[in-house]
């Protein structure tokens, strides 16, 4: 089998993972595709080392994360200042409540959808400032300090944003806290 064919197989094995990482951070399909392409172009340069390495998944995820964050920071710095002024109520999760489903039909609407699709959609609707640290913490397994370092913000801001992001997700998914330490979703 030629190198190109082997690489194509390798790419097909990992493309969903890389694309998911980029898509959840960027929430824009064409940008996520660009980042995924760039990740695999870089992987091709090191294909000899990566092939058969147990750390290949981690390497691809790290590169996808870094490229996505670079992409975000290129645009974010231009309007973050004003976007943060406009977020209003800190408990509102940075996005207007009208984005959520109406009380009366929220249950039906969520029931009608696939649970994962609902979570995915809720995650994508979070403001970037909350979604990115939330994804890095829960999906990429980074610690608060690492996230603060990667995003170039204070530790306190990371914790606050993640906390607000969780709260916003809880509201969007209509999760309710049960006294016996379990949460249930109405979806």
């Amino acid at each position: 089998m030629t190198d190109a064919k082997q690489f194509e197989g390798f790419m097909r094995n990992y493309q969903n993972m890389v694309f998911s990482t980029a898509m959840r951070l960027l929430t824009n399909q064409s940008e996520a595709e660009d980042v995924t392409q760039e990740v695999f172009l870089r992987a091709y340069e090191r294909f000899g080392e990566l092939q058969g390495s147990p750390a290949v998944g981690g390497w691809l995820k790290t590169v996808a994360t870094n490229l996505s964050l670079n992409h975000l920071s290129r645009y974010r710095s231009r309007w973050t200042f004003f976007s943060e002024i406009f977020t209003g109520d800190p408990d509102a999760g940075g996005e207007p409540e009208m984005e959520f489903a109406d009380e009366s039909n929220a249950g039906e609407e969520l029931e009608a959808r696939d649970r994962h699709a609902a979570v995915e959609q809720a995650l994508q609707k979070l403001p970037t400032a909350q979604r990115v640290p939330l994804v890095l913490y829960h999906l990429e397994g980074l610690r608060y300090e690492e996230i603060a370092g990667k995003l170039g913000v204070s530790l306190g801001k990371v914790k606050t944003d993640i906390s607000r992001g969780r709260e916003a997700l809880r509201k969007k998914l209509r999760l309710t806290l049960e006294p016996e330490n379990s949460l249930t979703g109405n979806a």
Partner: protein, 154 residues
Amino acid sequence: MNPDYNKQLEAAISRELKALPELTAPAVLANRVMAALEQRARVPWYRHSWQMWPVVLQAAALVVLLVLFGGLCVAGWELSQAEATTLALHRVGEWFSGLSMIENTFKVLVSAAVLVVKKLGTGFIVTCLVAAGIGYAMCVGLGTVYFRLAFAKR
């Protein structure tokens, strides 16, 4: 918020997010990457960045550059010692004598500006600068509002 609530919420959100399946990459993506790789392979080696060159060529390029640098240093030293160079430098200095006229004009303009500031008062100048700053901030703000409205998630 009590710590128990935060822990429960963290666990629940973690469960929800970790349960998410991977998103499916577009079918054309693999073909796109392979096409980009083929295109890259067609580009001759000298059009790639230096890091991508074959090791032998990297070493050769390094040697050539070092030799060139050494040659330039030696030639520079030799030239600086020659009488002809002194003469040439003197001539070059003459060409640039016209620059003193520009310097004089600039000095006149600066002194005129100082006079204007004294006449109008610093308050007026500061007000003008503040107005310009506010105008700039308004442009940035309106641009940001437009950006957010245009690209708002619906």
